[in-house]
Amino acid sequence: MALVLGDWPPFRIFWSSAKFAFKALFSWLRPEMWLMQLFTLPLFQMAFFVYLSRFVNPGAAGVAYISVGNALQVASFSSIFAVCNITSEEKWQGTLTPLITTPASRFPLFVGRAMFQILNSIATIVVGFVYASFVFGVDMSGTDFVALAVVILVTSLAMTGFGLMLGSVGLYLRTAMIIANIFLFIGLLVCGVNFPVTALPRWLQPLSYAIPMTYGTIAARAAIQGSTVAELGPLILQEIGAGAGSVVVGYLLFLGFEALARRRGAFEEF
């Protein structure tokens, strides 16, 4: 497949960027470190909120709710934090300018760069669900695993798209790190991870519905109760919509940033 598509420019740029990002990351990140992060991060974050919920609200329902929510949320480290920092890291390294001067299309370039994080997200969420089931005792006997798999895939893709948009915003404001940190954890509060969105003040709720993961948490819980893909259709579509919308906004923002930088001569500043 790669050979056939190989010479088709967008695919080539996408694939090349994906491989390159992978190589660049693992040139300094030892695989053991990555694995350690993959297996410990979900565990301890989930443990924190599970024990907190046991303290506040001792009852299996609360624990299940929180475990599932956090199993999804832990992917934010990859899909939000790492992805958001992609563009500003380029700028910081001084490689944003050389990239801009190539004729390569920006869309496949940055999506390709984010590819590894999409896979990382999926892996993290799967690990999270394994913990939910075996460590925190969530009953997954009635789960529709196909539906759950779809939810995991869509959430990873959509949240990465959201992360790319945040990366574009970060370019403009030169505060990618701050934005990455805010949105890394904001999911805990607003995405129905630890409690329903309805528990939040009204003025905050629109933010929840702009973030793809909010739909994912609802869908994941339903899938565990046995809902099928068909039944979850509307939610999944809404999540895809939120993700796709983010990508479009992010892409337009990036093009806008490029145009602005060309007018102001601001590529090298960071």
Partner: protein, 325 residues
């Protein structure tokens, strides 16, 4: 766009202003005119030099021509394409070598850097690896091609920049201060590579503030000063600006700024350039008077210890100094 354009580059009344703000609390807006309406052409196969002091507008001009900056007014055509409208077409066909410590991916090898950019430029897959090997050979990085760039010396990084700028086999190449910061050997090797490129009929636009380099390499030189073109000619043509003068070169110790000021005040003196660093100070005085003026020079510099004083033929550097002062 049919047929080959007449010139590689045409620049017409190019203007570029920047708005900067000073201060932290009360931002004061300042308008800086970096380029004030310059016009020039570059022929195919030519090595064109753009020289000038820091802040003269060279880098701004080259950024405009390489699509990194839009002009405030005026226009330019690169390989027949308009720099405002045909950005992607231009980017596909030019090579950009800006050099420096940044702009390369440190965590991967030189070869991987080149491969990635080759992919981004759409170099045909069948030709890619062969071309990369040839480029690595040409810049002398074949042995270290698979080491991480973070382990490269400054000179090696510069060579990688050159290879990267050629990865798409461009017919027009832009180089911004290609030898700056390099040790003499590395600089010499770089200049040799540039000459090789000219032999391969590439067109090159190069900026530099080393006059001897411009003299050695360029077919024509445009002198930019204060955002405007002060002169545009071949090196020998430019030297004619100073054919009426001689240069008195003084090597001494103990010359102070007020001595230089006194020299400059003399009506016979066209310009003075000095290098007062260290123990051997050098002062070059341009004057039509030639060796007749030497007694006055020794009088003004009586407080210093003069090792050597002689007249010399004016060089391109003298012409340049004359033009930019």
């Amino acid at each position: 766009m049919t047929g080959r354009p007449e010139k590689a580059i045409t620049v017409s009344e190019l203007r570029r202003t920047y708005q900067t703000s000073k201060g932290i609390f009360r931002k004061k807006k300042e308008i800086v005119e970096a380029v004030k309406g310059i016009s020039f052409d570059v022929e195919f196969g030519e090595l064109f030099g753009l020289v000038g002091p820091n802040g003269a507008g060279k880098t701004t001009t080259i950024k405009i021509l390489t699509t990194l900056l839009t002009p405030t007014s005026g226009n330019a055509r690169v390989l027949g394409f308009d720099i405002a409208r045909d950005v992607v077409e231009i980017r596909r066909r030019i090579g950009i070598i800006f050099g420096g410590e940044r702009g390369l991916y440190y965590r991967v090898s030189g070869r991987e850097n080149l491969r990635y950019f080759a992919d981004l430029y759409g170099v045909p897959l069948a030709k890619r690896d062969k071309r990369i090997n040839e480029l690595l050979d040409m810049v002398g990085l074949s042995e270290r091609a698979d080491s991480k760039v973070e382990s490269y010396s400054r000179g090696m990084k510069q060579r990688l920049h050159i290879a990267k700028g050629l990865v798409n086999d461009p017919e027009l190449i832009f180089m911004d201060e290609p030898t700056i910061g390099l040790d003499p050997q590395a600089a010499r090797d770089t200049r040799a590579m540039i000459k090789q490129l000219v032999e391969k009929e590439k067109t090159i636009l190069l900026t530099t503030h080393y006059m001897f380099e411009a003299d050695e390499l360029c077919h024509r030189i445009g002198v930019i000063s204060n955002g405007e073109i002060a002169a545009l000619d071949t090196p020998s043509g430019l030297k004619r600006f100073v054919k009426d003068i001689s240069v008195i070169e003084v090597e001494a110790f103990g010359i102070v700024d007020s001595d230089i000021a006194s020299l400059r005040q003399r009506p016979e003196v066209k310009s003075v350039s000095s290098n007062l660093e260290g123990e051997r100070q050098t002062v070059r005085i341009q004057t039509p008077k030639g060796s007749e003026f030497i007694p006055q020079v020794t009088k003004i510099l009586s407080g210093a210890k003069i090792f050597d004083i002689r007249t010399k033929e004016p060089t391109l550097e003298d012409a340049y100094l004359r033009l930019v002062s």
